[in-house]
């Protein structure tokens, strides 16, 4: 499927270059239509505004620790556009764009980072999304199990799962790719290689030249794409999804990208990377090049973009206020979801807690 883009030959798939131009010398690949490209652009705009707003809220003391998505948006936006709504979407934690493609309300994202469990409540039938997984890469086996379940039930649903370059060092990454290969599971492993795991650079995580090439050791294909190019991400994911749907098993996609912001709002990236490096990557910003593309192709006017960004900002502000005013979780709820039915010894602990919170009588 990716014969022309074998990562072992140093090849990386790029369709839309830094200047917003489509590379013309490529073989035939799945392409975003103009309508889809415009949709991707609009979602990327709201993702960027929502993300910047979260960082700004953190500085105002209104938002706890938050991991910015800035610079990586094309990875989850392009890939989630290439799968269908019934396909399972297993997040790491920097896939806000993909969540918005799926139709998840922005409020829910804010709710999670505001520290409310309801931020992890995704109606399964509606979204087919798993909540953020805090221990790095521990979500990968779930994706393989979900893929197995769909195959077992005889649906053509696949699973797409995300992790990062640091996450490829975790045993779950090896075990999951290995299980998926043996079971021929319909799953796409999408690694957002943003070059750093907090402060540790990619070459300190693995001695292999690319992450994508690891797939071949598990008996399936891997491809490295320009993760800042929504067209390349879309094309690779579409091919991998069709491959999985037809019963041909898993694929590993490495999105070669860059985190323009900090790991989280608690991180200071100037301690471990050069300003020049960041400046070079800003030129490759996925939003800048997609904006050039939609303008060049007259899919939108400059004036409309100004309005769009203004609207996006408003939308982000409103979503945050909604999340901030969301009902706080109750004492009862901290107990009632431990099991389907609360056992007597836990019920007793709930009673005791209620009594404690009631104060001295």
């Amino acid at each position: 499927m990716f014969e022309n883009f074998d990562p072992r030959e140093g090849k990386r798939l790029q369709i839309l270059n830094e200047d917003g131009q489509i590379n013309s010398d490529l073989p035939k690949l799945p392409m975003l239509t103009n309508k889809q490209a415009l949709h991707a652009f609009k979602i990327m705009v709201i993702t960027r505004e929502a993300d910047d707003w979260a960082v700004s809220l953190n500085r105002q003391g209104r938002m706890p620790t938050y991991p910015p998505v800035k610079g990586q948006e094309a990875n989850s936006i392009g890939s989630l556009m290439a799968v269908k709504n019934e396909d399972w979407f297993v997040q790491a934690f920097r896939e806000l764009g993909g969540l918005l493609i799926r139709g998840v309300p922005l409020t829910q994202h804010y709710l999670y980072f505001l520290g409310n469990e309801m931020g992890s409540f995704y109606e399964p039938e509606k979204y087919h999304v798993l909540p953020i997984s805090v221990p790095i890469s521990s979500q990968l086996p779930h994706a393989v199990g979900l893929a197995y379940a769909e195959q077992y039930k005889g649906t053509d649903n696949i699973t797409i799962v995300f992790n990062g370059d640091g996450g490829t060092s975790v045993g779950d990454f090896h075990e999951s790719l290995n299980f998926a290969g043996v079971w021929n599971a319909p799953v796409i492993f999408y690694v957002q290689n943003n070059q750093y795991a907090i402060s540790v650079p990619r070459h300190h995580q693995t001695a292999s030249t690319t992450i994508a090439e690891k797939a071949f050791g598990y008996g399936f294909e891997g491809v490295q794409v320009d993760g800042n190019d929504v067209f390349a991400v879309y094309a690779a994911t579409k091919l991998a999804a069709n491959h999985a749907r037809k019963g041909n098993g898993p694929t590993l996609i490495e999105g070669f990208t860059y985190r323009l912001g900090a790991h989280t709002t608690a991180d200071d990236p100037t301690r471990y990377r050069e300003d020049q490096e960041v400046a070079d990557w800003i030129k490759k910003d996925p939003l800048i090049r997609l904006e050039k593309y939609v303008l060049n192709n007259k899919l939108i006017t400059e004036q409309q973009i100004v309005t769009l960004k203004k609207e996006a900002k408003k939308q982000a502000h409103a979503a945050f206020e909604e999340a901030d005013n969301f009902q706080k979780e109750s004492l009862d709820n901290t107990f009632r979801y431990t099991f389907k039915n609360i056992p007597p010894i836990l019920e007793e602990q709930l009673e005791q807690r209620r009594e404690l919170e009631g104060g001295l009588k």
Partner: protein, 327 residues
Amino acid sequence: MQALTIISAVNDALMTEMQNDKNIVTFGEDVGVEGGVFRATVNLQKKYGEKRCFDSPLAENAIVGTALGMAMGGLRPVVEIQFSGFVYPAFNQIITHVSRMRNRTRGALTAPMVIRMPYSGGIRALELHSESMEALFGHIPGIKVVIPSTPYDTKGLLISAIRDEDPVIFMEPKRLYRAFKQEVPEDAYTIPIGKAAIVQPGTQLTLISYGSQMKEAKEATALLQKEGISVELIDLRTIYPYDKSTILESVKKTGRLLVVHEGPRSFGVAAEIIAMVSKDAFEYLEAPPTRLTGADTIFPLPSAEHHYMIHTAHIVKRATEVIRYQP
């Protein structure tokens, strides 16, 4: 009715329940063709096919992690960990996901799954093949821990575990796997999780044990009976959520308590039970609630195994002390 051992009761429960529910799948190391190293899954692949009973690659963490994915995807996986001493790589999945998914997602995603594993010592095995670490699981909020001690209970409890909407750790007393047979119905039946069994009613001492240690506990009960001491023997059966009311009712009647288990002492199951009894039945106690447990040592290799194991005579000795206690 059929006369079954504990290991064949495990097989029978799976055989029966997989017939009833097509969403049940079972897998693990050597589970498929071989039917498991103890033969717990023998003939399941033959009967239900390779999609429902199969070998997995050798990685306990991914066995449990993929099972959770399957459970969230609508299946009911029953996975086998070959020996409980190999479950530790899977602790990450058990603690960070399996036990928390219902709570994390406010009930949107759940983990109806069973993790089976043989445990207990006394079988002259290699290192890490003999431990009784049920207390580790009992300490994790969000999972149930079940340990049967008879073939009849094994089938009924395993079927309950499979039908449970929450994850269940099912620990099987491998020392008793083939120790004796018992009449077991051929149809499906359940024994409630969270309910202890009063194996023998008595009036002078409450003796609580479970799993592999029940053999010695029963023998001790019979010996004490001959001495004219009336023991109420309780098989706990569920470690979490344990049956507080049965324990309290018994201790309030007898006033004396001895808890016996193979696992290490500190922070163990007996510690929890005794702490609970000391608070909730304080005024009924006529002797200090006592525990007879494995020591806080590494389980010895076979040449010194007998220095770790709790024998019938040890239980009789401690029980007699509790009975004779005078303040």
